[in-house]
Symmetry: C2
Subunit: 469 residues, 2 copies
């Protein structure tokens, strides 16, 4: 699966020529090409100024170091738990869901040939305690991931785990079970790791959380799950190369940015549904949700104007969601564009046998395969939507492989950065989450947030909660 | 947890008084009360005409029969697999995710005191084969659920399972592992069950798929997972009673319908985000996604006018999605209303210990609890959004319990039916999924769909797939 065209972008059904007025005219698309060329130049300049960290892929030596650590961890632990949230877990989750066995954690140890892999990505006490209940602390390694080293949820999880490990194994035993992935120099986790002697991996300073899947953040859990991270890297590099060599309507990243952007800004399609027709790719849609929402959902443009930009990403799963969301997609408002994720060759084949006696009701199924069925459903859904005037894109994978997943994630990253340029916003920051953090600190009584606390109380006193049933 | 007010609806932050122009004025809300009263009357008439099947709760005897079957299955099988899709699985998934142990399938048998429970809700060959790989066919029961008895995906799964069971256990051994839940009289599955002697449960004819969680469809898997289905029923009955006794601004169902409807139709908020601050309730949001999308996403009004109604439901999880979606919710377009699901008392408590030495960076966390943290984050997020002029509702559960979940699901069902009245559409049908089904049959070569196949080919020949990168 090293074919660099293992991933195709098909935009036929996004065009007015195929779906009518809610689709885009080729002329409209072409009109934006000069803007895309300008954006490409700006991105190039940003890259040269070191501001586009994710585009500098890790060196072979860095990947090898992660691979070796992964191999060691596969041998020494029975459980591997990632403590993190948001960008610290979404990449690892997407990679393992796509490329490990779909029931990895339920396989017998000898079939897994490595530990069970868990991602603790919330601070719900019910969920977190339940997870700690099923892992065996004596044979469990914890990978604490926070770029800043100060994420509240991750620190809370970590403090709980550290205490329990110390109780179970003593402080020096505990130390060996903890691997910290954080900023190379600063932050609470970095300081603690140095003081206590934890193994560490770096998150390069120039790479933001949501772009960190190709660092130790995403690659270490993937390696522990037995995934070929060198092939992932090669896939990303192939897509990088492909997009560097092409431009405009020949560049998959530019087309994947331009079409949803125009669908939103010229056709009012403020919802962008990524509908995967493979269980394995459903969590890629979840990873993309963060990428698209956090990068493009901005109040201010780069020139400081109030724009309130952003298209809402939605994750859907075919064929399942045909029985849940398709009715709305077919008949509801014309407020959506879909992106299908399709697979040409599934990694397994399942034949559908006959039901014993003659049964006309199932004759169309028997002798066929599940892949034939799910592919027919995908094609039928895409076509039915097109016939109903509903536009869609498709990202078609030849097969779900590390190389193809590397291509896919890198394409979506690049496309998002181009979309930032089109919307005129900075796709690399997230200023809007600050207020919620500060109010959380205020409510938790953190030192230095007394004024925020007062502001919160004053707001609350002016907004009495009268309307409760 | 039998308090009938274990569930509160708080709409303060949906009001313009609290969030400004993107919120609703009380006067606007009151203006719709006469329409709601008319809709309530229509629903009453529909109910009396037997058209609102879900509102007739199952009898105590029916619930007891399911409970007994559940108890027997808990004793005799090690694995329990539901074969179904859409409404046949979403209820069971929501119930078990909310009320069984969060790591149910990874607990040792003696702690589970019942089988592992799986929902096979897709026809992806990779996912389906992986599931069959981890269950032991000799000790596994399969619950095949399809109201019509003819759902393509479910029949395909079933034919595969039936063949493998026969091979492993012989036809009579296979028979004992299969339980069919389907229409009481008609359909392929009903006929086959009678011919082959499978155990069966009925889906009452008057209850549609997405409303079937309170029939054997949802209750049997819940009972097998060890959930108190009588308390679920009691919760649903309590909410039913509460909504029958109240009207207008005193009725939680009417308010929960009216506010998102007005948010959509008067403020352009075409996206309805259900954001749960409990892992346990995340799949309730998924169940609700079907309810809201499939019920309200309609091309035609009940009087035959083209309306293209429907608001797009989105599921989100707090605190996790604060690190993924919140940036967009805070700063993006004013195109959303949120519904928070909150919990006052979590079923577990986890203390956050100190990190050994003095550490100012974590002082605000130590000595507190994870529930305190997640609740502070919920309150902070809700308030930050309100301060930014972003409206929200909240459904506040005293605790996640069978009774409270019964109330919650029933409330959301009723609210959806009221919303159907407000949008002027029939919330009980789903005509838009027909075309996709017919095209699937055509592609699979089903007899009788030759004309559809020709139509598809003619469409394809007129829409050449030229635009592929």
């Amino acid at each position: 699966m090293k074919d660099e065209h293992a991933l195709k972008l098909d935009y036929n059904n996004a065009l007015a020529e195929n779906v009518g007025e809610h689709g885009l005219k080729l002329a409209e698309i072409r009109r934006e090409l000069p803007r895309l060329a300008t954006i490409a130049k700006q991105l190039k300049a940003q890259e040269e100024a070191g501001q586009l960290g994710f585009r500098k892929l890790p060196s072979a030596a860095e990947v090898r170091a992660v691979k070796q650590a992964g191999r060691r961890l596969r041998a020494v632990c029975d459980d591997f738990v990632v403590l993190g949230i948001g960008g610290s877990t979404l990449g690892g989750i997407a990679l393992t869901a796509a490329l490990a066995h779909p029931q990895h954690n339920l396989l017998p140890r000898q079939m897994r040939r490595g530990p069970r892999v868990f991602f603790a990505d919330n601070v719900d006490p019910e969920g977190f305690e339940a997870l700690l209940q099923v892992v065996d602390l004596r044979n469990c390694c914890f990978n604490v991931i926070s770029k800043s080293g100060g994420t509240a949820e991750t620190l809370a999880q970590f403090l709980v785990v550290r205490h329990r490990l110390s109780r179970a194994l003593g402080p020096s035993g505990a130390k060996e079970k903890i691997i910290v992935t954080t900023d190379p120099k600063s932050g609470f986790l970095r300081e603690l790791a140095e003081r206590e002697g934890y193994a560490t991996f770096d998150v390069p300073q120039a790479i933001g959380g949501r772009h960190s899947w190709l660092t130790a953040v995403g690659l270490l859990p993937a390696a522990v799950a037995g995934i070929d991270i060198e092939a992932l890297m090669a896939g990303a590099a192939a897509m990088d190369e492909r997009c560097r060599k092409s431009a405009g309507l020949n560049s998959p990243a530019e087309v994947a940015a331009l079409i949803p952007y125009l669908a939103h800004t010229t056709r009012g399609q403020n919802v962008n549904v990524m509908m995967s027709y493979a269980d394995a790719l459903y969590r890629v849609a979840d990873w993309f949700r963060q990428m698209w929402a956090e990068s493009l959902g901005k109040k201010l443009s780069t020139s400081g104007q109030v724009v309130h930009a952003g298209q809402t990403p939605v994750a859907a799963l075919g064929a399942t969601d045909q029985h849940s969301q398709l009715q709305l997609y077919m008949e509801g408002p014309f407020d959506k564009i879909l992106t299908f994720l399709t697979v040409e060759r599934y990694r397994r084949e399942v034949k559908i046998p006959a039901p014993g006696r003659k049964a006309p009701a199932t004759a169309y199924l028997t002798g066929q395969t599940l892949s034939r069925l799910i592919q027919a459903e995908q094609q039928a859904t895409e076509t039915a939507l097109a016939m109903a005037g509903r536009p869609s894109l498709a990202l078609r994978l030849a097969q779900v492989s590390p190389h193809a997943i590397g291509q896919l994630l890198f394409l979506l990253q690049l496309a998002t950065v181009y979309a930032g340029g089109l919307y005129g916003v900075d796709p690399l920051d997230q200023p809007g989450v600050e207020l919620g953090k500060q109010l959380t600190y205020a409510l938790m009584g953190r030192e230095g947030y007394e004024a925020k606390r007062a502001e919160l109380e004053s707001w609350a006193s002016r907004h009495k909660p009268e309307f409760v049933l």
